[in-house]
């Protein structure tokens, strides 16, 4: 404004005093917002943060090796190691166990590598078929046909005292197959 230099000093003083408090007020609120924002964001992203440290994965027992006949593929279920009180039945997870021979196994996630629908095993034709979009996989989990871009997800496994144990705890998705991340993780009971 062109009148600025001739404004009376007294009004300028009051104005800047008000202005000062206004700015102080904004600063004070900014500080308060920061103090509240940090816990809010950490709360919101807690599920992400925990996942990044692989905090969801642990070794899960699937049962005695003798439950799985050699040369066959069978469905079995386990309880997801990470449980919340409101989960209900959703923590029950299914997977396909293929015992090739002896202690050689393949444990496949139930979820299709296309969009996560539950795949079915057909021993007669030796195929896994998906009911949703028509993906099909061979007995070793390799992609056979349909929209999936890869084979079935596999859980890392080990055999402890004759018990088949897999490293699981997280929904495998095409962008996050999980298994490869956890292959070298040590056992945590």
């Amino acid at each position: 404004m062109s009148t600025k230099p001739v404004v009376a000093t007294s009004s300028e003083v009051t104005l800047s005093r008000r202005g000062f408090f206004m700015k102080l007020g904004i600063l004070f609120n900014g500080l308060a917002a920061m103090v509240v924002a940090v816990p809010i964001v950490r709360f919101l992203l807690s599920s992400v943060a925990r996942g990044q440290e692989n905090g969801y994965l642990s070794w899960v027992r699937l049962g005695d090796v003798t439950n799985f006949p050699e040369g066959e593929t069978r469905m079995t279920t386990f309880r997801n190691p990470f449980v919340m009180p409101t989960d209900g039945k959703t923590v029950n997870t299914a997977c396909w166990v293929r015992r090739i021979s002896g202690n050689q196994f393949q444990v496949f996630a139930i979820n299709c590598a296309h969009l996560g629908c539950p795949v079915h095993w057909f021993p007669q034709s030796g195929l896994f078929m998906c009911p949703c979009h028509g993906g099909a996989y061979y007995r070793d989990g390799a992609r056979a046909s349909g929209p999936p871009e890869r084979g079935l997800f596999e859980y890392p496994y080990k055999i402890e005292n004759g018990v088949l144990t897999i490293n699981a705890g997280q929904l495998p998705t095409p962008g996050d197959p999980v298994a490869s991340l956890s292959a070298e993780r040590p056992s945590c009971a």
């Binding site: 919340m84 034709s125 979009h133 929904l171 998705t173 962008g175």
Partner: protein, 494 residues
């Protein structure tokens, strides 16, 4: 009467709302907008209010807990008086809302209402469409059954494909490592608090702008929109030949609103509530999850796209479509409004409608999905094995037991993933059949590892019988020639 007036005056002295309401109700609108084409916006608002009311009623009983949601829906369906009806109203209301919003959008676009000065109204409308679809998807999750469970898995699988941040997005979406109680809770928060709150704010803005800028006049071919002159022309028009919105135009909105509410109620009464289907127990895998009808087109698309195109399409397609819709009023903010002089606009709308309609229809049949029970449920019809040799019958058995029927139909029963095999012998020679069975190809898995040579021989012998009586099976003419010529002069190998 005098008391009521007094009370009214007492309130208005404090609220001071009567004058602006009267002004809004009586604002002049172009006479030609009092049309049955102009009722879809208010119809969408009507259904939205209906959804708010029925939604609140459902929340009186519904429990957003992974362990109890399904049984609380059962209680609504079977235990609570008229719970089934309120659920059905809410479910059908959501179908109607998506449909009406889409019709409203198409109408507004074809009438050029997105042009100057109503660009922002259109943009807010695009966000309203996205929120409506967001409500539809989160609403499907509220019906916490098998479809909801596996639908979330599909959502997570799509989200995971975003480069770099995909895995983090999945955990944020699921609220944990798997689809579970926390997932339902956060979708409940989105469905009940976040998106409705945003919807109310954006709907208010949308309606406010319609009031401030005036309803789009009926487009006349040749009447060109120009930034410099449009508003003056519009005001002159409403002044000279306008009529007050109430009651001149509103009665059609009111009739249509009542009609829509009755239509929702009628559908709810006759067809009943949607689901819930089986319990959300991921160990029960005997299910073929399907989305609700407004996402069926996407379901079809995800089945039909070539695998390599799918991720780029999913990640680039929707943002591109949204940006295109948002930029539309800036790219064509002026010029002709009438659809009679905008052939490309008409063709675009028709093409989108036909594409979505076709995909939706296809998704009702799901020809791409194997019929999991066809091999054990659909027997080979008698006439196909009548008068066949022992080998061919053995082949029919292999055909059945190896689940060929899950993907291939004969006599119109069986899967449609692969081609029907009623006349396969006309298309493929014996050698081609053997090759296709053993090596697969196209969309067919290779069966070389799962069939013994004897089984393959039998199967192909059976397949060779599959041709219409009037058509002879395919044969390799060159091979016949070589075989017939081979006796006088033996073929020499180079």
């Amino acid at each position: 009467m005098r008391v009521i007036t007094k009370i009214g005056e007492w309130f208005d002295h404090r609220l001071q709302l009567a004058a602006p309401i009267r002004e809004a109700a009586g604002h002049p609108v172009p006479r030609n907008t009092a049309s049955w084409f102009y009722v879809f916006g208010s119809a969408a608002l009507t259904v939205f209010i209906l959804q708010l009311v029925t939604g609140i009623l459902l929340a009186l009983i519904y429990v957003p807990s992974g362990g109890e949601a399904w049984s609380s829906l059962q209680a609504l369906n079977h235990q609570v008086t008229l719970g089934w009806f309120i659920r059905a109203m809410h479910g059908w209301g959501s179908n109607f809302m998506v449909a009406i919003v889409l019709i409203h959008m198409a109408q507004v676009f074809l009438f050029g209402a997105h042009k100057y000065p109503r660009e922002l109204t259109w943009i807010v409308g695009v966000f309203l469409l996205l929120m409506t679809l967001g409500m539809a998807f989160t609403g499907q999750v509220m019906r916490f059954d098998q479809d909801a469970y596996w639908g979330l898995g599909i959502g997570a699988s799509i989200a995971s494909r975003v480069p770099i941040i995909g895995p983090a997005v999945v955990k944020l979406m699921l609220g944990g490592p798997i689809i579970a109680g926390a997932t339902l809770s956060r979708f409940f928060a989105l469905h009940v608090f976040v998106i409705p709150g945003m919807l109310i704010a954006f709907v208010s803005l949308h309606v406010l702008m319609v009031l401030k800028l005036g309803i789009n006049e009926w487009p006349m071919p040749g009447r060109i929109v120009k930034r410099a002159t449009y508003e003056a022309q519009y005001h002159a028009m409403t002044k000279s030949e306008g009529a007050p919105f109430v009651p001149y135009a509103i009665w059609k909105d009111m009739f249509f609103a009542a009609f829509i509410i009755l239509a929702v109620a009628a559908c709810a009464y006759y067809f009943g509530p949607f689901g819930p289907t089986g319990q959300p127990d991921p160990t029960i895998i005997q299910t073929a999850p399907k989305p609700d009808y407004f996402f069926l087109w996407l379901y079809a698309l995800l089945s039909l796209l070539p695998p390599s195109l799918e991720t780029p399409f999913l990640l680039i397609g929707p943002p591109l479509a949204i940006v295109g819709l948002l930029l539309l009023p800036f790219l064509s903010g002026e010029g002709e409004k009438s659809w009679k002089r905008r052939p490309i606009a008409v063709i675009t709308v028709l093409m989108i409608a036909i594409t979505l309609g076709t995909f939706t229809r296809l998704a009702q049949f799901t020809p791409w999905s194997p019929h999991m029970n066809a091999w054990s449920g659909d027997p080979v019809p008698d006439r196909y094995i009548h008068g066949t040799t022992a080998l061919e019958r053995q082949g029919a058995l292999v055909f059945q037991v190896k689940q060929c029927r899950n993907c291939h139909s004969i006599d119109d029963t069986g899967g449609q993933r692969g081609p029907a095999l009623d006349s396969v012998a006309v298309r493929l020679t014996r050698d081609q059949l053997i090759r296709q069975v053993i090596q697969g190809g196209g969309n067919m898995p290779a069966y070389g590892n799962n069939l013994s040579p004897a089984e393959t021989t039998a199967l192909v012998a059976f397949l060779e019988t599959l041709h219409p009586a009037t058509q002879s099976p395919a044969r390799d003419a060159a091979r016949d020639l070589v075989l017939s010529e081979s006796s006088p002069k033996p073929a020499t190998q180079p």
